[in-house]
């Protein structure tokens, strides 16, 4: 299988750098093809702007969404964006690996999403009708592929637990896992989160690797998070609210996951 690792840490000689090297090795030893986008090493352009459409009129008013659409449709996207979209199409599984900075991705990775997730590629896909509100949330360009986050954080697991002060890790990651990955079609696996990274010393490192290795070994067999598909009947269209018979009387993020 083809695995695409998108990696965002500024220092190769870091825990994240070591885990990236371990992951590549583990995946290749298992017979998978691996491509890596090391965003810092690539000096990835983080900021979405008018230059991302190579054919635009210099004085035209820039509309991020319309310009993205035109560039995608006309084949005038910036070459760095096209290359990343090709890697996404090539992949059977995509791993986003990053340190959790301020409860989200480092800016360089957010900018990879902002720019690569073009109109016509990751949003604005599919028809709108009374029963279908675009190919999104479980459908889309990246359907039938798997995605997983590999995240490091200095905080303790309990701080991210069900009643932890930071908020439950699944809720903190919801905008990424549901709003970015599931939105564009991915089957999203539970995240692999490595807590309290400052306490990981040389003696502890093999254990951290082994835990990650098991997640990589089971990339094709782990059950995805059962997010509800938008167009499969659970939501009213076009309000896109969950129908009253599902999770009746409840609200919040967890209602968008099918009850066991």
């Amino acid at each position: 299988m083809n695995v695409f690792l998108v990696y965002a840490h500024p220092e190769p000689r870091s825990l994240n750098g070591s885990l990236r090297d371990f992951a590549i090795q583990r995946l290749e030893h298992a017979g998978h093809a691996v491509q890596v986008s090391d965003l810092y090493a690539m000096q990835w352009k983080a900021v979405l702007d008018a230059e991302d459409n190579t054919a635009r009129q210099p004085d035209a008013r820039f509309d991020p969404s319309l310009d993205s659409r035109q560039a995608f449709e006309n084949g005038t996207q910036s070459a760095d964006i096209v290359r990343e979209q090709e890697k996404l199409r090539w992949a059977d599984a995509v791993i986003l690996q990053f340190p959790l900075w301020w409860f989200s991705m480092p800016a360089i990775l957010k900018g990879w999403i902002d720019r690569v997730y073009a109109y016509g590629f990751a949003y604005g896909v599919g028809e709108h009708s009374d029963t279908h509100w675009g190919d999104r949330y479980g459908e889309g360009t990246l359907a039938d592929k798997r995605a997983m986050l590999v995240v490091t954080t200095g905080g303790w697991a309990s701080h991210y637990g069900p009643r932890g002060i930071n908020g439950p890790i699944d809720d903190i990651l919801f905008p990424i896992q549901h709003g970015i990955l599931f939105y564009s079609g991915f089957d999203v696996l539970p995240p692999h989160v490595i807590y309290r990274t400052s306490r990981i010393d040389e003696a502890g490192f093999p254990k951290v690797c082994e835990a990650l290795g098991q997640r990589l070994d089971s990339l094709w067999t782990t059950a995805p998070i059962p997010f509800r598909q938008q167009n499969a009947g659970d939501y009213l269209i076009p309000e896109l609210t969950l129908k009253p018979e599902h999770a009746p009387g409840q609200s919040g993020l967890s209602i968008h996951i099918v009850e066991k």
Copy 2:
């Protein structure tokens, strides 16, 4: 009062650009002093890296957190970072204005947080003891200041409602409002969210301005979101889990808000 507007949109001739101009005018007419960081116009460096510490050894291993701490303590932070920290100290209220891209901030604004929110400035502040886990979540450098998000989105309000498919807007914004703003000490006002922006035409624009204007007029009187202070007794330390007597049996993001 002093108001600091951090603004992140690539096109001045946009709805966001017009709203920014309106906001500045409204605030100044009310007698407030306004500073603006227009991140695109400033060509803000979005990517946190080793260069942010002007005094570091070129071959040293870069540790984002330790380097940030050293640079902050030794006065060797990059000048652009220092300038933004000074504006934050000057401000009585801070407004972050941005279009919601992939359920979060544009990368350029995330990179402003990543870089300006230095160790010793926005985190790593205060003592750790059995009853006090650092000055954070309601305490810290930015305490006694107010913060508010002004966010635009193409989606409908119902999509971001209590049972909307995108998740409730307060939950989507929790990593920013709680994890970034409240963490560093701000009193966080309810966000001002402008939905379905593509439907706002010239005729509708004055109404959109007036709604924003009322929020700006009441910047000093609007009640903040009553997030629970970390060190005020509601949380176990060091687990930082909400004590069982608060929101008993519940979990999720909403338990970190004091019940009415």
